[in-house]
Symmetry: C2
Subunit: 347 residues, 2 copies
């Protein structure tokens, strides 16, 4: 069985040493009003002396609470997700919770595995962002059926009944960004973005389209690139290839992430264009390294840390209340504001 039992101090050991019952010791440790101050003091100092550490597993089994939140992100190596995790962590620590992060490695299969793992009782609630592959939702619906508090964030194409939703308005944010480019008298604007399988990217592209429509301007399909690659280097070549083959390079680009914007600028520079003098570029995200580049990137700033905090807040509320905020409830969805950060890649 348990191989470490011999070394661990348990409530029982404290109880024996103090000639008290386990119950009293337990209550003393949790500062219950039912044990007298003097006894509490004795227990506490004995606990310290004997190096007692409560067994969180036993506590969890008994109380039905783990004080751990599960977080499922599509991948580790995208700073946005880490930033959201940081926000979640920051918030929940104040409430004595910890987070267990699982990456889906960009695969629906792993996403399902991760959800399954969280059905095993190791977490009190789940925060989650879908991969680009996800287009069926039985796995999360089952999670909800099992009464697991769930909050979804970012990349939401599809509202899930019983889950909370935290996102930004990708569509209008994109509209605003592209409108800037239009107002700057760019009559030919290109779009470079990630896979069209990902809902957020589609919404940002739709915003790109909408801005054109709104201002009675048109764009060329050949100026639109939806990248398929996942590795940094491949992505760069995809962007570079795309741009180098164009006869008529647009005067401006709207990119669906900062990463694409940076790659776009790099490729344009390589092709002899100057940003922003010849061509303007706007990114999306505002990663912490976006202002380390020269020229510093103009972009839509996405409140990733804040998003994490909101996700956490919503999730802890759900856990607390012990019931489920319904989809019709105004609290089931939070849309966070974005803002445009003007830096050096626009004029």
């Amino acid at each position: 069985m348990n191989s470490k039992i011999n070394s661990r101090v348990r409530l029982e050991d404290l109880a024996r040493a103090l000639k008290l019952s386990i119950a009293t010791v337990s209550r003393a440790m949790s500062d219950s009003s039912r044990v007298k101050p003097e006894t509490k003091q004795r227990v506490l100092s004995k606990a310290k002396q004997m190096g007692y550490r409560s067994n969180q597993i036993a506590k969890s089994l008994s109380s039905g609470k783990t004080n751990v939140l599960g977080v499922i992100i599509p991948r580790y190596d995208e700073p946005f997700f880490i930033e959201v995790c940081r926000g979640i962590d920051y918030y929940v620590r104040k409430h004595d919770y910890r987070i267990l992060i699982n990456s889906s490695r960009n695969s629906f299969k792993y996403e399902k595995e991760n959800v399954l793992a969280f059905e095993r009782g190791t977490v009190d609630g789940v925060a989650m962002c879908f991969t680009h592959e996800t287009n069926s939702y039985e796995h999360v619906e089952e999670l909800i059926d099992r009464k697991m508090p769930l909050v979804l964030f970012d990349n939401i194409s599809h509202k899930i009944d019983g889950a909370g939703h935290v996102k930004i308005d990708d569509f209008s944010s994109a509209v605003k960004a592209v409108e800037i480019l239009i107002k700057h008298k760019n009559n030919s604007i290109g779009y470079i973005g990630g896979t069209s399988k990902k809902s957020v990217f589609n919404q940002r592209f739709d915003g790109f389209v909408e801005a054109h429509k709104k201002h009675h301007q048109s764009f060329k399909t050949r100026h639109v690139l939806n990248c398929k690659s996942y590795h940094q280097e491949h992505e760069f070549y995809e962007v570079f290839n795309f741009l180098s083959k164009l006869q008529d390079v647009p005067n401006a680009f709207f990119c669906s992430t900062d990463n694409y914007a940076i790659l776009c600028i790099k490729a344009l520079t390589k092709l002899g264009y100057k940003v922003p003098q010849d061509i303007e570029v706007i990114g999306f995200g505002n990663l912490h390294y976006s202002n380390m580049f020269t020229p510093e990137l103009t972009c839509v700033s996405q409140p990733s840390f804040k998003m994490g905090e909101k996700v956490a807040e919503m999730l802890l509320n759900k856990i607390d209340k012990g019931f489920f905020i319904s989809n019709t409830d105004q609290n089931s969805e939070i849309v966070l504001p974005t803002k445009l950060v003007y830096r050096d890649t626009t004029r």
Copy 2:
């Protein structure tokens, strides 16, 4: 007590439904040879039908194993640490483990809290990197006393008896990098790095000194900067200030991280210098975005993902063996090789 009991299917429910004992059902679920194939089949299909999910908490309490590894990193927002986590995660998943990441937020106080949390039985082992503030080690020694398998990585100034150690050779890597700059006939080389409180930075600086000594070349103390800031923007101004005040800007810089190298290049560019034509720069780390900058960064490549894998391997070995690889054991330390990646910031 537990508020979810009503909904959860337990072994007992399966047992009752199948008119079997809990023990048999438990054994069937874990594919024990003591239960006959036909019964196993019945159990499995009933489990599926009733939507049974084993309770990991109960399992852990009973078996003394959580199948979770604790990982303590100084901070989330440094891609190096995330990359190490990714390596750990990648390795341990193959062995049915998960990781619980805790950030110390660059503070020794939180680091101790994190260690304490892991003494509560929620993890089977701990992987950890010290913050720059850490210079006392009772907390980890206590962890070891409590028989917790422990592997330290990166930033190790001080060997801890009973712990495993995984690192790179910061000193020689720095020597090699600076030697390149010397071979390129740079007779004046500067150093820009992080806080001298952090062991890895000291070791890299010592390498910088050693390379000079080895080649009978000297450097000026006024060409050395140990940054004190922690925020991206402050860091930039610190670097920019430092450089703008110099009468005699060196012909080359060795920076103790990629980040400083990038900030250094940005500052130099702002001051009108061309990299690498006027001034060469070498970074340290090889972050995934180091080659997105123009010019692409020449740097010492640190095998962060690999480091994670090695940490994980060592930790699982310790857990398996159930005993402690002593410090004298050759297996208690792994030093991973680095390599110099030549890109565009050197000639």
